[in-house]
Amino acid sequence: MDPGLILVQTFNGLVYSSILFLVSSGLTLIYGIMRVLNLAHGSLYMVGAYLGITVVLYLMSGTPLGYLLAFLAVPPLTGLLGAALERGLIRRTYEMGEEYQLLLTFGLILIFDDLVKMIWGPAYINFPDPNAFLGGFRFGEYKIPVYHILLIALGFSVFLVLWAFFSKTFTGKVMRAAAQDSEVVEAMGVDVSKIFVYSFFLGSLLSGLGGISAGPLYTASPGMGTDIIVYSFAVIVIGGMGSVPGALAGSLIVGVFRSLAIAFYPQMEIVVVFVIMALVLLVKPTGLFGAPEFERR
């Protein structure tokens, strides 16, 4: 085995981990914390990528400023879209049970996929390469693009911000408390329905940020949301539902192992993720960072 290839594939894995973390930290907020099964979380990732390409390519013709603008403007937009979905549709299913959430949010996936085809067309759209202006480094016979390094930095920065938010700020603590016992928190004078909207906003913002980050790596395509959501669920099962550090650990594991599998044994690309998931479930059913299961109400 070529050690250079192992290093490069690990690096590529970290890039994928970073994107996976953005999406799965949002998912762990919405599913792990609020117990809302939102399959359409991946659709917001897709919408993030398409809105991104609209800004970067169609409005700003691939300039660095276009990229900057897209990274600043698109995530809040997907956040608002997520909050609107919660208020308008998903909220109605809370009293009905998870099977209704599954049906509704699966329906949303189909609608979003078709809307994307109607607006942007069914063909894959390539982003202009950000490394055209960012450049890259040589590493032996391999090239390390600066954009990839920035993505890894972005993933870790978002982790630090989320960690500080949930452990240091009052709103973050209220969100954690509402996740553990929403009824008691409501009886303490907190409008829990607002906490749900905040969570959807934040979770969808992260998913959209993941989408715009991934766009230049993998092109924008209808159905890209479905691919990421499957891995994201594996990530939060491995890391532990509702845990942001868990989402980071799960993303690192899934991203790196998948990337190494692609290089050395491509047939195992998907299997390896679910073998790891099964092993974690056998050893620690609550996931690596999952809290000991307390009674949820």
């Binding site: 409501e186 009886a187 000991p292």
Partner: protein
Amino acid sequence: MIAKLEDVVVEIKGVTVLRGVNLEVREGEAVALIGRNGAGKTTTIKTIMGLLRPKSGRVYLLDEDVTQKPAHERANMGIGYVPEGRRIIPDLTALENLEIAYGGKVPEDLLEWVLQFVPDLKRFLDRKGLYLSGGEQQMLAIARGLIRKPKLLLLDEPLEGLAPKITAIVTKTLKQIRDEGFSMLISESGIVKRLEGLATKAYGIDRGEIVYEGSLEGILSDEKARSRIWGV
């Protein structure tokens, strides 16, 4: 009047749990609500808190009709809640649990004020809820209910599941709170003795109906209450 239920009917998942409950808590009273498990005590308290909505009937708090008000608004009107099973947030420290109930950082003098009722709490303010004993959790739950100096404190079976020694301490704490002028509604699953010297008035409840209203001592000699609640 602090709290009043008027002909309240509550259904949970299609099952009628309260069948026309009338109940009143006046200023400064410590009212006991006595009944067996499943009699409707928790449902009554949750209906006052706003966590359950009546199918018919009205709920009044501080002379205002609050039947349609959500729980968080009732909490902000001055209703403190000490839930059954305590329900401390396990992942947060004792102090953080108080902060959630207060709505931000608890001022030093307010913390001192609450600690005079539950002085032991001082020892474990920085410990996570998960690592507190039953008695410690109950102290914290009472402090959490009191932290905003409520006009009415709802206590759902505060003496349940505690060691006898701790039960005595909690009862003493509650008396102290009553003597400060706080109005309370306390549910108890049948051991009337535990509330002696604390409750100024009692209701007996069975199968969602009020079967007794009067003094605490009187419930033991009242024939209807005895046969409905204790089957003797």
